[in-house]
Symmetry: C2
Subunit: 174 residues, 2 copies
């Protein structure tokens, strides 16, 4: 494992974030958001998402892909729409022969921001801190970077010992 | 429009059916079911689905793809799973540069079997009748052929005047 592509899927906006492991240190490489035209037919939107991610994969050559999963959706229609996007993403990764790992949103927040209920701002803040970014990444991109950090955490333990973990323990000590 | 690929998406089994238009007459070409291994990871299953459909498209060279849509799902988790399959299907069609048309299941049943509440057996029966098949196609394949016939109906009026329409009117006359 050396270059991780984290993905935060969405029916309208899908965040992506590339994190490289420099020894045991996670290093920010790139991040962004694929925005889909709301007025285009579904098949066209999903192909835009597929092709955008294939382009990202070709450019950054990740070794592994980490995708955010949902624990439970309240609404069947939004679950269907999210499923469409996740299907296109899984096919993009598979067509690039990349292994896909899934992490529940709660687990990602727990690892990166110290709480499964952390809000968007906390995730943005902690991602920026752990990757030494000059400012807060856009929220979907931050979620994607958080998934990549979560994947690194579960495979190396790196993130917990340098970022959220210490932050979390610090709070418990108070 | 001359060769239509109808698809009945499912998270475990996806039916497909190829119908060719011979003048105004729909002619059966092929049909089948893509079964996905339940024990494989999601990304692998979706890539098997994607690749199987790309193979079908390459072999039969359809001009248009008709996919069954759901009106409403009661369950968010099953909607998410169905969405995954539909996402892979839409990307397969898009990567083959094929236009995709969507038809609600109720509408498909209405057109092919004369009622939006028609059961699986009625759909199998009417599809076999309209395409002069020697026996009933497997149920997912029958649903896929029904979607193809529905698409032909809405683009040419062929099916309603030779199959379900006449059957439906016949019943009303009794």
């Amino acid at each position: 494992m050396s270059i991780i592509l984290g993905i935060d899927p969405g029916s309208r906006k899908t965040g992506f974030g590339i994190v490289r492991l420099d020894g045991r240190k996670p290093v920010y490489v790139s991040s962004g958001v694929v925005k889909l035209p709301t007025d285009a037919p579904l098949a066209e939107r999903l192909n835009i998402l597929f092709e955008s991610l294939v382009t990202v994969m070709s450019e950054y050559q990740p070794n592994e892909v980490a995708v955010e999963d949902i624990f439970m959706s309240k609404n069947a229609m939004s679950a269907l729409k999210l499923g469409h996007a996740r299907g296109a993403i899984m096919v993009a990764a598979g067509q690039q022969s990349l292994p896909v790992f899934e992490y529940e949103a709660r687990k990602v927040k727990q690892v990166v921001a110290g709480s499964g209920n952390a809000d968007k701002l906390s995730v943005q803040h902690m991602v920026a801190r752990q990757l030494n970014l000059p400012g807060r990444p856009q929220e979907d991109a931050a979620d994607a970077l958080a998934v990549a950090l979560c994947h690194i955490h579960f495979n190396t333990g790196v993130v917990a010992s340098t970022g959220a973990g210490r932050f979390s323990r610090g709070r418990l000590r108070n």
